[in-house]
């Protein structure tokens, strides 16, 4: 049967257990989990004191749906996919879980899930520093990021 794919963007603290419960299934022998957290980073002597996440929520939902369809096409045994992402002011936990009968598919699927999310989902992160300034970050996976404009590197 078509398995559910609950995804959510939330301004509340995220529960890893809730996400585990959403993907658990008697047919699944493996659940792969990715939890994204904030590193306590320093940038040029400035300490990151927090993050702010913003999203184009309507489009993030439709892009999540496309992402899940992509995962299911590549790994048809994947049973449940659950992605939660925080919005607003955060010291974040981002739990993502994918379940499948055997671990290989769910491990590969979650890697792709993270890569594709970073490339395509309209969510933005701003680092706020202890110097009271801030900067919007860019994922290298995003094709229109300045981090992608390499000049003459050979692969």
């Amino acid at each position: 049967d078509a398995a559910s794919t609950p995804t959510s963007l939330s301004r509340d603290w995220l529960s890893v257990q809730e996400v585990v419960d959403a993907v658990s299934s008697s047919s699944c022998g493996a659940i792969s989990v990715f939890i994204g957290t904030t590193r306590e980073d320093e940038l040029d002597g400035r300490k990151v004191i927090g993050l702010e996440y913003e999203a184009y929520e309507l489009m993030a939902q439709s892009e999540f749906t496309k992402l899940c369809a992509d995962i299911r096409e590549r790994w048809p045994t994947v049973t449940h996919i659950c992605v939660h992402h925080r919005l607003g002011w955060v010291r974040p936990v981002l739990p993502w879980q994918i379940s499948s009968p055997h671990r290989h598919d769910s491990q590969q699927a979650i890697q792709r899930c993270i890569d594709q999310l970073k490339a395509n989902i309209p969510i933005w992160k701003k680092e706020v520093y202890d110097t009271q300034d801030s900067s919007w970050k860019e994922n290298a996976e995003c094709s229109w990021s300045t981090r992608n404009k390499s000049s003459s590197e050979s692969v």
């Binding site: 969510i123 933005w124 919007w136 990021s145 981090r147």
Partner: protein
């Protein structure tokens, strides 16, 4: 056509606006949509070559692609992504 332009992340800081109604001709190239927005908010030029648009929640690169717009359509300014 009057479309609803949505700004996100850095583009909000550059324009001072999160959303506005803009009159645009249709059909129109995505490059011309971008130019129109630059005329309204010159500081958006900071994002030149680092931005795409989203028309009715579909990504459109800034370039020759022609889009057909209807009244009330959402057009979003999409700086480089940083979710995850």
């Amino acid at each position: 056509m009057c479309v609803c332009v949505l700004y996100f992340a850095k583009s909000v800081e550059l324009t001072g606006v999160k959303e506005e109604i803009v009159a645009v001709p249709t059909p129109i190239s995505s490059r011309d949509v971008w130019r129109l927005l630059l005329q309204r908010h010159q500081r958006l030029s900071v994002l030149q070559d680092q931005v795409v648009l989203a028309v009715r929640q579909q990504y459109v690169a800034v370039g020759d692609q022609v889009v057909t717009l209807a009244d009330g359509d959402e057009v979003a300014v999409v700086p480089p992504l940083s979710g995850g």
